[in-house]
């Protein structure tokens, strides 16, 4: 009847931070492992850019140049972006949508997992896939396409892959919050493929019709690809600052849509 109440020992603040970091690393590791083991995801996210690159840059258009850059090197940038955007849209966007619809996200939210760890882990997982894709494409380009890439160029590509995940992660989250899961993969594809084509990721932008070249300035894929090309010393039609502003603007719009969708979801819960 008489139960002594033992006080809970206070947990010191710095160990909370260490625990959160450990939670983040564990979350990120398992998110990547899980996606990698899901063959339908990992094989297509890595496979498609690789297959397209081999076909369009290594088999066709051999020895040709665009400006000062060989086609094989030029397309490296485009397909690196293509791969990373796919990892972000499908890994983060459709993944989040699926976990939301299944009630799994609810279970995670009911646990003491910090939501930031969950979101950052998903971003890091997409980044890792992006880096894997860039690396495979680079190796293929060097071995089969006679592409010469210096270490700083490669490092710049990796750096842009890491930073470039952010706008597409935000787009993925906005998609997951806005669109019901049944239509999410379809809509993701409807966005992914046109956005890649019209951004000049497959066919270089200067070979597309004039009105599409103008439309491209609205697309984050165009801006990111141009930034990557500039790291090869390829001069773009626009300035670097413009491309960064394009990406930042797009990210802000996606964050806005996501915030509105989130508020709508929370109000209904």
């Amino acid at each position: 009847m008489f139960t002594a109440i033992l006080p809970r020992t206070a947990v010191p603040r710095n160990s909370t931070l260490t625990r959160n970091l450990r939670i983040f690393f564990r979350e990120a590791r398992y998110e990547f492992i899980r996606l990698f083991r899901t063959r339908s995801f990992s094989l297509s996210v890595i496979g498609f850019p690789v297959i397209f690159y081999v076909f369009f840059a290594l088999i066709m258009n051999r020895g040709q140049h665009i400006g000062t850059v060989s086609v094989a090197k030029y397309m490296l940038a485009g397909y690196a972006v293509f791969g990373m955007v796919g990892a972000a849209l499908f890994g983060i966007g459709v993944g989040l949508s699926s976990e939301l619809a299944a009630g799994w996200l609810e279970l995670k939210r009911a646990s003491p997992m910090p939501p930031v760890a969950y979101l950052l882990a998903k971003c890091c997982s997409a980044i890792t896939f992006g880096i894997i894709i860039v690396s495979i494409l680079t190796v293929l380009g060097i071995t089969l396409g006679h592409v010469s890439i210096t270490l700083p160029e490669y490092a710049r590509m990796i750096g842009l892959t890491i930073v470039g995940v952010l706008p597409f992660a935000c787009m993925g989250m906005a998609l997951a919050l806005f669109v019901p899961f049944s239509s999410a993969p379809g809509i993701a594809n409807m966005i992914y493929l046109p956005m890649s084509f019209c951004g000049g990721l497959w066919i270089p932008i200067m070979f597309l019709p004039h009105f599409l070249q103008k439309l491209a300035t609205l697309l984050p894929t165009y801006h990111l690809a141009q930034l990557m090309l500039s790291s090869f010393g390829y001069a773009s039609a626009s300035t670097m600052a413009n491309h960064w502003f394009g990406l930042i603007g797009f990210t802000s719009i996606m964050l806005g849509i996501g915030a509105i969708a989130l508020r709508r979801l929370e109000q209904n819960s």
Partner: protein
């Protein structure tokens, strides 16, 4: 000197009144969704340390809403929610809770061991991994991918995730759905041992037998309000009597084949209601022993006598349909 003694006395009496600590509470909660639906209407409930509480109610009664508020997944329109004295919407408050929900799909390409490892990491002092595996009965399936498990095995993994942090307050939503008898009894034993160790368990279930067997207290809600709360025996009594009659002590249903007419049956001491179909009489009595003594004296040819406790299902249906 006297001031110190006064303080010691005051804290001693305080400890005595708080001897059964309130672990979680919903205080006069109103929850109205943006589409106008009133899910909870001025509802209050408390959960105390070491008890198993079953939350019952028909679909749409507000059970899920109440649980979501307690888990911090939702905010009330009015009123306060507290777990361990804190707002459950803060992550820190949930360090002492564990949750088992009905989940459509969990990540299928992670092994059972990896799922548990992930959830254990959320808590500062998690339950040791071997203990979790033993409590949830996962010894043979630790290395399997979640997607390869059967329905019952998946439920057991979700139970393990609820236990991962060695929580003091556990929410179980339909914990034994899809279980066979052996697995269900095993889960019941686990839940009882949790309560025996001073943990608090709140469970929702559609298996009323489960609520009857496990719960120290049952709370029945309907249309966002608490309709009835008490021990299983009390709830069964309340549901079996006609509204307006007072109930105290045990209530029993007496069935027999008798030649006695209805008015005689109703006049027997302790009888609150009597139904007679052909010669088959069904009596409800608040003083079953007195009723039986009188009944057997009055009718020497009485046979096929059955004395039963009221079923929780009947009580539940009566309680939740009266308020249409």
């Amino acid at each position: 000197m006297s001031a110190v003694l006064e303080r010691a006395e005051a804290s001693a009496s305080q400890i005595a009144t708080e001897s059964i600590e309130t672990v979680a509470s919903l205080n006069t909660i109103t929850k109205r969704y943006t589409n106008g639906v009133l899910a909870l209407d001025n509802l209050s409930l408390t959960l105390r340390r070491g008890e198993i509480v079953a939350l019952l109610g028909p679909n749409g009664a507000g059970k899920s809403t109440a649980i979501k508020l307690l888990m911090g997944l939702s905010s009330p329109t009015a009123g306060t929610v507290r777990i361990f004295g804190a707002d459950p919407r803060h992550t820190a408050a949930r360090l002492r809770t564990g949750v088992m929900l009905q989940v459509g799909k969990a990540p299928e390409m992670l092994r059972v061991r990896e799922h548990i490892d992930l959830f254990r990491g959320y808590y500062p002092s998690p339950m040791p991994y071997p203990d979790i595996v033993k409590a949830a009965g996962l010894e043979t399936i630790e290395e399997r991918m979640f997607g390869q498990l059967s329905g019952g095995e998946k439920q057991r993994v979700l139970f393990a995730l609820a236990l991962a942090g060695d929580p003091d307050l556990i929410f179980l939503d339909e914990p034994t759905v899809g279980f066979d008898i052996e697995a269900r009894r095993g889960m019941w034993a686990q839940i009882r041992s949790l309560a025996a160790r001073g943990k608090t368990v709140l469970l929702t279930t559609h298996y009323l037998e489960e609520a009857d067997a496990l719960a120290h207290r049952i709370i029945v809600i309907n249309k966002g309000r608490v309709v009835c709360a008490g021990t299983p025996a009390e709830v069964k009594s309340l549901g079996s009597t006609a509204p307006g009659t007072s109930t105290s002590g045990s209530l029993k249903i007496i069935r027999c084949t008798t030649v006695l007419p209805s008015p005689t049956l109703l006049a027997i001491p302790g009888v609150t209601s009597a139904k007679l179909t052909a010669n088959l009489a069904t009596l409800i009595s608040t003083k079953p022993e007195s009723t039986l003594r009188e009944l057997l004296t009055l009718d020497q040819t009485l046979h096929s006598l059955e004395v039963q406790s009221p079923a929780l299902e009947d009580a539940f249906l009566a309680l939740t349909s009266d308020h249409e």
